[in-house]
């Protein structure tokens, strides 16, 4: 197994971890963290898989660089939205049920 393939497989595992967290967690900020983990996993798969055959490949690297910058912009916008939502409703999760207002730790 080559080095790049190892990182691609790590990216696969990260995708799984991020997706599980995104689906299972309630707190919006935790979901955002899980979403970022999922994104990092996708980036690792992209670069690791593309470089598996022959050395460093600039094309997926440029693609991932663009992706990282868009991801930070999306994260920052999501934080603005979450804080606004918290300010308007006092809740940090989207559930309307009984765990409203619980700070976290439902994992």
């Amino acid at each position: 197994m080559s080095l790049n393939l190892l990182y691609a497989l790590a990216g696969v595992a990260l995708c799984g971890i991020g997706l599980a967290g995104f689906l299972l967690l309630n707190h919006l900020l935790r979901r955002l963290l899980a979403f970022n983990l999922l994104g990092s996993g996708v980036f690792l798969v992209l670069v690791g898989l593309a470089q598996h055959g022959d050395g460093p490949d600039p094309v997926p690297q440029a693609l991932v660089l663009t992706g990282i910058v868009v991801a930070i912009a999306a994260t920052a916008l999501a934080i603005v939205l979450i804080r606004r939502y918290f300010h308007l409703t006092g809740r940090t999760s989207l559930d309307t049920g009984n765990n409203a207002g619980d700070g976290g730790g439902e994992s």
Binding site: A10, H27, L37, I68, A76, D102, S107
Partner: protein, 88 residues
């Protein structure tokens, strides 16, 4: 030797990722996420993607961390009775 190092890096990446999601304290989760960003930067260097490593250090560990910590402190200030007590 180097394969051993890469294995260690991958394992610590996964462990940090799980720790981000499983830590009870939100502050701890964010700090874990920043550590994850730094480890990701190391992984990019190992993948010979120095550009991405630079961007990851500046963005993943620096800017995102500041943004998230700011949000966490905001949540805490607004709700002191629900302040997390940490995991230990």
């Amino acid at each position: 030797m180097s394969g051993w190092l890469d294995g260690l890096l991958v394992v610590s990446l996964l462990v940090t990722a799980v720790a981000v999601l499983l830590s009870r304290d939100l502050f701890r989760a964010v700090v874990m996420f920043m550590a994850f960003g730094l480890l990701m930067a190391l992984a990019w260097v190992r993948l010979q993607a120095q550009d991405i490593a630079l961007a990851e250090v500046a963005i993943g560990a620096g800017l995102t961390g500041v943004l998230l910590l700011d949000a966490v402190s905001h949540f805490r200030r607004a709700r002191p009775q629900h302040r997390s007590r940490g995991t230990e």
